[in-house]
């Protein structure tokens, strides 16, 4: 079984407000490297026709999932999107069981019934990826409500893309969350494109103002800077745990690949120069490595080792999934009702 993410145990007090130490930063680096390696392998599986369906890669956005999820306890909740592999790994999922799900195999997290867009990993607080844009906002707010009523001290994080700002549900649930001071963190990953359309062509005004309108604690930040994402997440999660209510984080980021793997010719909606600029100058993993090295918190060989280990783990996970059997036909009719 793949090594699970190093997360604080359930029910421990919230992370100390102090900055993470070198080991904690390296754990985050490892998580980012695992996501990148996983997604590279997904790309390969897909392009070699081994993976059915659609694959929406998270490459380029790793700092957000890892920065936020490493501010959470294992029993905190997240809800995720069609671009959800990164959230899933960052919240502690094992890559072999994820690959099995992506290939529709019985060993997958959802017995192959969910697939890439629907992985749920309840043991790690992942209430599921969602293929309805904005569709998980109600679930996240419901989880936050339940945590508040049960007095469990848990928080719920709702990840969504800026495209979901078009969905009315987002506003109904933000209103509920603020009205009742629910422990919910809305994390808007603004990678600038709703599929093939720039968000400025679909979004009136400033996205940040929409959360402001409800009086929600709101922060706008560089989603490529894991330190910033993490430290911000720690702060707003603590607030939420103290009963001070929800927060909205608008994180600026970029997806390196197409909307999905088949989206190859992208020049009609974004330029090669723009893509190159983000990849070369704003890569969250490279920026993080630069900082770790500049601060002498580690050296290159350690980072190389982490990356090699991540690739290794991912390769083993992919092989496991490729060799794994499909579900028995009788499975088609199970689990319709609990």
């Amino acid at each position: 079984m793949a090594k699970a993410a190093k997360q604080t145990k359930p029910k421990t007090p919230a992370k100390a407000a102090g900055s993470p130490d070198a080991e904690e930063w390296l754990t985050m680096y490892q998580q980012m490297a695992r996501i990148r390696a996983f997604e590279d392998r997904v790309n390969l599986l897909y392009t070699s026709a081994k993976m059915p369906g659609l694959a929406h890669l998270y490459i380029g956005e790793e700092a957000i999932a890892v920065g936020v999820c490493s501010a959470l306890n294992a029993d905190d909740y997240i809800t995720s999107t069609h671009r959800g592999h990164g959230h899933c790994i960052a919240k502690g999922a094992a890559v072999d069981l994820m690959f099995a799900e992506l290939l529709g195999k019985a060993a997958g997290y959802c017995k192959g019934k969910g697939g890439s867009m629907h992985i749920a990993d309840q043991d790690n607080g992942n209430l599921g990826a969602n293929a309805i844009v904005g569709g998980s906002a109600g679930i996240a707010v419901g989880a936050g409500f339940s945590a508040q009523r049960r007095g469990s001290g848990q928080v719920a994080v709702c990840f969504f893309g800026e495209g979901a700002l078009g969905q009315g549900l987002i506003y109904e649930t933000m209103n509920l969350a603020q009205l009742w001071k629910l422990p919910v963190i809305f994390v808007c990953e603004n990678n600038m494109y709703n599929e093939y359309t720039h968000f400025s062509e679909t979004t009136a005004g400033q996205p940040i103002d929409r959360a402001h309108a409800f009086g929600i604690h709101t922060e706008e930040l560089d989603g490529q800077d894991i330190r910033l994402v993490h430290e911000t997440a720690v702060r707003v999660v603590e607030r939420a745990r103290r009963g001070e209510g929800p927060a909205f984080l608008l994180c600026h980021t970029y997806r390196y690949h197409g909307h999905h793997v088949g989206d190859i010719n992208r020049e009609y909606y974004r330029s090669k120069e723009e893509e190159r600029d983000w990849v070369e100058n704003r890569d969250p993993i490279a920026l993080f490595a630069d900082w770790l090295l500049a601060e002498k918190l580690t050296d290159r060989s350690v980072l190389d080792g982490i990356e090699a280990e991540a690739k290794d783990e991912v390769e083993r996970g992919a092989q496991f999934a490729l060799d794994a059997p499909y579900p028995d036909p009788s499975e088609v009719e199970t689990n319709v009702y609990a």
Partner: protein, 336 residues
């Protein structure tokens, strides 16, 4: 766009997707009140690339990219339709019609009636249906029965490029809200589509294949599945008649009943859920209208009553195939 091929009779051949695009282009050209709105319909030409190029001819004021706001654009369509325009609202996946339900069911469907006939809502909601694309539970459903249930709405389920084009043109010209379902697995299906202008009236079934031994009433891609089954059945001496209602409402009961009377046996095949679905409705029409002529109970075949699973090993079991239709027909004809 590729140069059209010629069919057997020299008629032009288009894909299902091209037929849809051509219908829209002709109606946009003919009537300045027609517009198309949806997510990524302009430069991207929709997620399925079906509308590619339309924006080049008609511009972004008539082929309009929208935010990801299904209830919003559907509601906008209702209001625009009530005030003199003929909107064609594009809802990418049929699964997302759930988001449009209030606008379609409580607003669009009832406005003409509630206003005592004073207001009308001539809009079209185009969307998709169909499984086996490995798109999992939220992108694979065939929910046309939902709209078929609601008085005030009309529902179109074309099965060929020819029908798709003629029915879409009729839909746009109709003075009522029309839901138009395209099976996404059929976009590449080819068929003859004449160059000259034509429309196809609603509520007129088409006999896609004549036969004397058994009636197969089928909709959308299930027509293609049933035609393939009919070929297999012919090899063992069973002649199936394939009847395509083309619209689930209005429904051409007469043609369906006459066919069942003629063959004395009937199967209804539709990709929606069997439970409370289109197949149930049509089976009851046959039972009512042809009871004394039937040699066997009417059989229904639809999607299994489960959320559509992702795994190919499971998904393929959930919908009727040429083989399962053939086996069912054989059994119904007393041949095992």
């Amino acid at each position: 766009m590729s140069t059209p091929e010629a069919g057997k009779n020299g008629a032009r051949v288009l894909t299902f997707g091209e037929a849809i695009r051509e219908a829209l282009a002709e109606e946009l050209r003919r009537d300045p009140t027609v517009f198309v709105m949806g997510e990524d319909v302009a430069e991207a030409g929709t997620a399925f690339k079906v509308l590619l190029g339309l924006v080049d001819e008609f511009g972004p004021d008539r082929v309009i990219d929208s935010p990801i706001s299904e209830p919003g654009i559907t509601g906008l369509g209702v209001g625009a339709a009530m005030t003199g325009m003929r909107p064609v609202i594009d809802i990418m996946f049929g699964d997302f019609i759930t988001l449009t339900m209030d606008q379609m069911v409580n607003q669009a469907a009832k406005i003409h009636y509630m206003s005592g006939g004073k207001l009308k809502v001539p809009m079209v909601l185009r969307t998709t249906m169909g499984a086996t694309r490995r798109s999992a539970a939220q992108h694979s459903q065939s929910l046309h029965a939902w709209f078929s249930h609601v008085p005030g709405l009309k529902v179109v389920v074309p099965s060929t490029p020819y029908d798709a084009k003629g029915l879409l043109k009729t839909a746009i010209r109709d003075d009522n809200p029309v839901a138009f379902f395209e099976d996404k697995m059929m976009y590449q299906l080819k068929g003859e589509v004449p160059e000259e202008e034509y429309t196809i009236p609603f509520g007129v079934a088409d006999i896609k294949r004549s036969g004397s031994d058994i009636t197969i009433v089928a909709t959308s891609s299930m027509v293609q599945v049933s035609l393939a089954a009919a070929e297999k059945l012919a090899e063992i001496g069973i002649e199936a008649e394939v009847v395509d209602p083309r619209t689930t409402f209005p429904l051409d009961k007469e043609t369906i009943i006459e066919s069942a009377k003629k063959t004395s046996r009937a199967i209804v095949v539709d990709e929606g859920y069997e439970r409370y679905g289109v197949t149930a409705e049509i089976a009851s029409v046959i039972a009512d209208g042809a009871f004394y002529y039937l040699d066997a109970p009417v059989k229904r075949m639809g999607a299994m009553d489960v959320p559509i699973p992702f795994s190919p090993a499971l998904e393929d079991l959930t919908v009727p195939t040429a083989d399962t239709v053939m086996e069912t027909a054989k059994a119904l004809c007393g041949r095992v």
